[in-house]
């Protein structure tokens, strides 16, 4: 029978528990940790779509901004607690993503990439015109909705929760039957379709999941800064960051985005006093990676060693 060895769960599960414990107990910079965790969640979501189903999206900043705005408007107009408003944000993103899919489903390859980018840009322009959501001035979160004493801890734990639910959820998904389909599509789309895998349905599923994750992450991030405006929330830089992280780390693996995250935030700290140099360096790296190591860093490591930290490979016994 062909299965994934059960024993292979020990390392990743213990590892995740150890990392979570360390993040909670150690005296780290919780603001930075929160950002790292949120971007990790976005990167894993985006990687599920692009790394596995081959739809390279250049427009996921649409969901980051959308999630942020839905949270702010829900909290400010209904008085619902911010924590529950995150769920509302994810749900609205699901609905919007479904509508986007109707528009984009016929576009493939590069057309999908830029089509969704146009959609994201349209949302930015619409929100900048829309008086109810503060137009280009943006909106401030109603201060009565939060407890200042516990607020910083709350957003940190929310980010931690989202990152770990995403990480474990995607790991579980890839070990399931659907995961097998996703990996088959990643390895050979036409081949997968020819043995009866519903490629379009899997692509839609991955698209919806990635949209909800990015919306929740955007909601938590802008909750933590208490203010949202269209040019920040719908900034293409969210998308560029995620793309850089996944491509450099390794597209189509769970380990890749984690390595990419370490490199991205490491570089950002090194170039802390030279933001423009950091961006130029980031661009140069994106130019070089497809030329010198097409599989990203994890691709290189996995090809040399065969390692899997999060095992999803099936073996015959």
């Amino acid at each position: 029978m062909i299965t994934i060895p059960r024993s292979s769960l020990t390392v990743p599960v213990l590892g995740l528990i150890a990392v979570a414990t360390a993040l909670v107990l150690l005296p780290i910079d919780r603001r930075l940790a929160m950002e790292v965790l949120l971007v990790l969640a976005m990167a894993q979501g985006w990687n599920l779509l692009c790394g596995y189903t081959g739809l390279l999206s250049f427009g996921h900043h649409a969901f980051v901004g959308l999630g942020a705005y839905v949270l702010f408007m829900t909290v400010n107009t209904t008085g619902l607690a911010p924590v529950w408003s995150i769920l509302v944000a994810a749900l609205v993103a699901l609905v919007v993503a479904l509508a986007m899919w109707m528009l984009l489903r016929k576009l493939r390859g590069p057309y999908f990439s830029i089509g969704i980018w146009v959609l994201a840009d349209s949302l930015r322009l619409l929100f900048a015109q829309w008086e109810w959501v503060g137009s280009s001035r943006g909106i401030v979160l109603n201060p009565a909705s939060i407890d200042a004493a516990t607020f910083a801890d709350m957003v940190f734990y929310l980010a931690l929760g989202l990152a770990f639910v995403t990480q474990l959820g995607i790991f579980a998904l890839l070990r399931s039957r659907s995961g097998l389909a996703l990996m088959a599509i990643r390895d050979n789309e036409a081949g997968a379709a020819s043995i009866g895998i519903a490629v379009a349905r899997n692509q839609l599923g991955a698209f919806l999941i990635s949209a909800a994750i990015c919306a929740a992450a955007g909601a938590i991030y802008y909750l933590s800064v208490l203010y949202v405006d269209p040019s920040g929330a719908f900034d293409i830089d969210w998308q560029i960051r995620v793309l850089f992280i996944v491509i450099v780390g390794g597209l189509g693996s769970i380990e890749g985005p984690i390595i990419g995250i370490a490199i991205y935030f490491g570089l950002r700290e090194v170039f802390r006093d030279a933001g423009d140099l950091f961006l130029i360096f980031q661009g140069l790296t994106a130019v070089l990676v497809p030329l010198v190591m097409p599989g990203g860093i994890w691709g290189l490591i996995a090809a040399r060693t065969g390692w899997q930290i999060f095992p999803t490979r099936r073996l015959a016994d």
């Binding site: 280009s136 793309l243 661009g283 030329l291």
Partner: protein, 290 residues
């Protein structure tokens, strides 16, 4: 400005949008490469033009030619040194490379010129206009439109009447046959990207004479180019031209209705066309043979 003038202005700026689209469509049609840095090349051309006009005594027509030659060299080099190494059915590597390049170009421009909005001053021609029948039309927009039309006609002649043009079309259809005829596929690709970037650069420089730009204008230019290609129908010169005109009119009229809407109306028109294409209604929109 009356609506008639808005439509005429839209048509005239649309000629340039058509050229943006043509640059993108050539690269995609021939090499299957989507150049994400397309918009940054367009903006780079505008900055190069500004600099040449400021520091050299060269007259404007010469500057346009110099920018076109520089852009051709840039496109050639990009294809020869990088994009030829990632040819194949998977479009992702080329998109990532050109996206990285767009980040580099954008931020180098910010470092060199600052993030402020710029414009090109070309003297009295900028404000001259013709008035007839109660309408007043700028001389410069008409001149620019004429250049765009001439370039479209020129590319059409190049593609249909010259060896290199036929080689471009053959490379788009079947590069293996092309190689058996003794052509070097990679050199043809280099020339094709050179031509694509040169066309867009000239359009970018001309657009800079009509409207302002900053290092961050590239994204808008790329999205315009993309919308032109989709609206006009893939892979036809005529489609690019008509798509450009259509988008130009929509955008200028939209800006007249809502002055702060930016490229929003262009985006909306793009989605309307996309929806029509998916229904049977849209078949009449399919211009061109391909």
């Amino acid at each position: 400005m009356s609506y008639v003038e808005a439509v005429l202005n839209g048509l005239m700026v649309g000629g340039l949008y058509g050229l943006f689209g043509l640059g993108l469509a050539l690269a995609f049609g021939i090499m299957r490469i989507v150049n994400i840095a397309h918009g940054e090349f367009v903006v780079l051309a505008a900055y190069l033009g500004v600099t040449l006009l400021a520091v050299t005594p060269l007259p404007l027509p010469v500057v346009i030619v110099v920018v076109a030659i520089a852009a051709f060299a840039l496109g050639w080099t990009l294809q020869a040194t990088m994009l030829n190494r990632v040819l194949g059915p998977n479009p992702v590597p080329a998109m990532v490379i050109t996206m990285g390049l767009s980040i580099v170009l954008r931020n180098v421009l910010v470092k060199l010129y600052g993030a402020n909005i710029q414009s090109i001053d070309i003297g009295p021609l900028q404000t001259m206009g013709l008035a007839f029948g109660g309408l007043s039309i700028g001389l410069l927009p008409m001149l620019i439109f004429a250049i765009a039309v001439v370039l479209f006609v020129g590319v059409n002649l190049l593609l249909t009447r010259t060896t290199i043009g036929r080689a471009f079309r053959a490379a788009a259809d079947d590069y293996e046959i092309l190689e058996t005829l003794g052509f070097n596929r990679r050199r043809i690709y280099n020339a094709a990207l050179g031509l694509a970037v040169a066309l867009s650069a000239v359009a970018g420089l001309l657009l800079a004479m009509r409207s302002s730009f900053s290092p961050f204008s590239g994204v808008e230019r790329l999205l315009i180019a993309f919308e032109v290609v989709i609206i006009g129908g893939l892979g036809s010169l005529r489609g690019c031209f008509l798509g450009g005109l259509f988008l130009g009119v929509v955008q200028v009229v939209g800006l007249k209705l809502y002055p702060n809407s930016g490229p929003l109306f262009g985006h909306l028109a793009f989605f309307v066309v996309l929806l029509l294409r998916q229904s049977n209604l849209g078949s009449f929109l399919a211009w061109g043979r391909k």
